[in-house]
Symmetry: C2
Subunit: 133 residues, 2 copies
């Protein structure tokens, strides 16, 4: 996947620098990752660079913003991992990924009914996980 993204960057005229790949790596490992988590994981990289890199990744659909709870986080885009949604536990703060064909289908229906052409969507479900219930 690193290779894939390196190629993508080059194709689009950007350099796959070490820092960019390091940031990618952190996102991959702790996704969904808050900007601060990324910044703190990479003290040798300036925050401005982190922000600029995140913006670049989002522009190129390498990553996207999602809202778990009340702040946004970054995770890989749909091209680089299965499309999924999140169940966030209010108590233990765990974020569980779920694949949900039924929901995808229902969303499709809804947009069709409204003549809307969906480009992306984000669903966040907040509550209590099995352990904390």
């Amino acid at each position: 996947m690193q290779e894939e993204i390196k190629t993508l960057l080059k194709e689009q005229g950007f350099t796959p620098t070490k820092k960019r790949l390091a940031i990618l790596d952190v996102i991959f490992k702790i996704q969904p990752a808050s900007v601060n988590q990324i910044i703190n994981s990479l003290p040798e990289i300036d925050r401005a660079t982190v922000y600029r890199t995140i913006d670049l990744f989002i522009d190129l659909n390498i990553a996207k913003k999602v809202y778990t709870g009340f702040k946004y986080r970054i995770e890989l885009g749909d091209s680089f991992q299965e499309h999924h949604h999140h169940l966030t536990c209010l108590r233990c703060k765990t974020v569980m990924d779920v694949q949900t064909p039924e929901i995808e289908f229902a969303i499709d229906q809804t947009t069709k009914n409204n003549g809307f052409r969906p480009m992306r969507h984000d669903l966040e479900i907040i509550g209590y996980c099995a352990n904390c219930s």
Copy 2:
């Protein structure tokens, strides 16, 4: 609805002041409203008060935060308007409300399958509306 919320505030030990009701009014009129829209609509109210009031409304489930596009906005909570989701147009920026029983049902199934007890959820669909497609 104003009356209902006045009563709710009193019951919870808060005062339904003019400023709070003015803020409520703005939210009602331009929901989903960004914090800045609210602040700019009410130049006579200090921003700190606006923030504090929004927090209060959210605590009491009078309002909630939603994420249309890349920043959050405020709208009335489910007790004070039909539960719905948003179709946000990338081009004209219009936010259309949609009621979606199929989606609600599918979300219910998904959470059940995972032993998850949902408290709330937020779905945002981004794309192009019928006019802009």
